[in-house]
Amino acid sequence: MKLFPVRGGIHPEYRKDATSEAAITPLPLPTALYLPLQQHIGAPAEPVVEAGQRVLKGQLLAHAGGSVSAPTHAPTSGVVEAITEVAAPHPSGLTQKTIVLLPDGREEWAELPAPIADPFATAPEILRRRVAESGIVGLGGATFPSAIKLSLGTQKKIDTLLLNGAECEPYLTCDDRVMREHAAEVVDGARIMAHILGAPKVVVGIEANKPAAIAAMTDAAKQFGNVEVVPVPVQYPMGSERHLTQAITGLETPARKLTADLGVVVHNVGTARAVHHAVRFGRPLLSRVVTVSGGAVAKPANLEVPLGTLVSDLVAFCGGLTQPPRRIVNGGPMMGQPLPGLEVPVVKGTCGILALTAGECDEQPPGPCIRCGTCVTICPCGLVPVEMAAYIRHDKLDAAAKVGVMDCVSCGSCSYVCPSHIPLVHYFNYAKGAITAADRDRRKQDSTKALIEAHNDRVEKALAAKKAAAAAAAAKRAAEAAAAQASSETSADKQGNP
């Protein structure tokens, strides 16, 4: 297959050797599971269980809280201890509503939806609903509800399902291992997704530094004519859906548009496997594969983790920490976010937990910009990081937005190459957050203004109605008085003239 060049990008040290040969190990059940209601993009899920209730493995704990949302299921049987605020796996250290489940170790399954034996003879809508009810979200880390992405086929003509096995982040090997160990499941899931989308062809993009995964996937795909496995160049951020689409189709996704506008829908390989489980066995999303790595971890590993397990349980299973880590990262080292501590749960979007030593972190103080232009050369989105950062530094967020800060995908390549160690991507994350917050404020003010206007209108109308009623009453009284007078006059007349 002919590949197309992608602009910019970098070649960081991949450091995948620590875990690339570590087979996926199931993590033993921990003593407690913490299942946040918001493990996805969109509205939080709404709990359907109460504290003290016994639940079975696979039972629905919380249903989708809106059109863009995803349900959560019990990863094992046990008792719901509480629904309470627990620290979220989020750099802010804020808490969020979480269902606390105490496993009883019996692993008793709830009654699951019936397996769909022949998905290719089933209507896409039924399959899509199954995916939605199984709580499947994008497992590459973006956590967008998959069923919504799978409904794009009804609105747009989709010709390719692009399966993302690029895994361009250093350290992470969970997708690599999933493809090597469960290739048949991934390919089957991908074919089901292509059927839902109405896409005639499936392309699996895998970075060329994963020859074993490419071999396994090619082997699993060879019996299906419409599934093609394509090795893509090793170049960060190849795993970004826009860039992978560009490498495969040569088309660049326009700003504020979706890859679906180009006829391509991108899904992660882990998501495909989850879809396979949901459709073929009726099993909801209960666990995921997580890479635990970094210089401070004693025995780096790939673990199949029940959702809601605390990060500290993962680290303990990997032999603990050999030294105090400089940083705990949720995700890869490029785009991952720091964690406030180890006592936070693994959620649907957790693809890696890295305990990095000081030697693995670049913490040199930022120096002056030397105008080398490297950040401009490597920006995979064609932006000018140096200019945007200068605007943001001077609080000119509007100007930064005009030169495209909202189109930045926060891949971190600019921060990585900057010889002056300027935290460029930090500026952009701040700007994107601040601009979104200002938008939210503006919308709130507009709605307040509308409410106040409606209120004033109503008060005015009520006042006018009151006045009119008073006037009418006065007129009526006057008329009555006049009538009474007239009648008394006539009667007087009558009396006067008998």
């Binding site: 979220a88 802010s92 804020l94 969020q96 300027i422 500026y427 701040y430 307040t448």
Partner: protein, 179 residues
């Protein structure tokens, strides 16, 4: 033909002249900038800025160099919008941004007197006579008028909490000489 053209010209000139005279005679003095500034304010007439209402504050902004940071319900966003329109620099350093607030009614203290409902300009309070009132937090914009009028001090103002959905990274602290 000549008559048609002539009569139309006469009518045109007369009506035009009349309009011109009316525009001069019936001219209403209204400052466009004042109107525009008023549009940027929340319009709740809460008086927390120290002026009687939003209109008076807009007038003061336009003519008396009033600081742009006085509007409490509007917060930082309003201050910045006003500063941008007026071409002044919003001195947010001295402006103590309390952050958005909303009213909460203590149900044990509420006597159901309806006074707060009468004050609320955005219809954010519901309740009826001698029944406990409550605030619809999403509709409340923190003007605090109900807080002031409540006879039993059952209303207090709470900060709108930062959630995972609204949190964002702070601006990085770097040396001034960076760029």
């Amino acid at each position: 033909m000549l008559l048609d053209v002539g009569s139309l010209t006469v009518i045109g000139v007369t009506l035009g002249g009349l309009l011109g005279v009316a525009a001069k005679l019936l001219h209403v003095e209204e400052d466009p900038i004042e109107h525009e500034l008023l549009g940027m304010l929340p319009g709740s007439q809460c008086g927390q800025c120290g002026y009687v209402g939003c209109g008076q504050y807009a007038h003061a902004l336009a003519h008396e160099h009033a600081p742009v940071t006085l509007c409490a319900p509007g917060g930082k966003t309003t201050a910045e919008t006003l500063a941008k329109r007026l071409g002044v620099k919003a001195d947010l350093s001295e402006h103590e941004d309390k952050g958005p607030e909303y009213a909460v009614i203590d149900e044990d203290l509420c006597i159901g007197c309806l006074r707060c409902i009468g004050e609320c300009t955005s219809d954010a309070i519901v309740g009826s006579v001698k029944h406990v009132h409550t605030v619809i937090a999403d509709q409340c914009h923190g003007c605090a008028k109900c807080f002031k009028i409540c006879p039993t001090e059952a209303i207090h103002m709470c900060k709108v909490p930062v959630t995972l959905g609204t949190w964002h990274w702070d601006k990085p602290h770097t040396d001034a000489a960076t760029h």
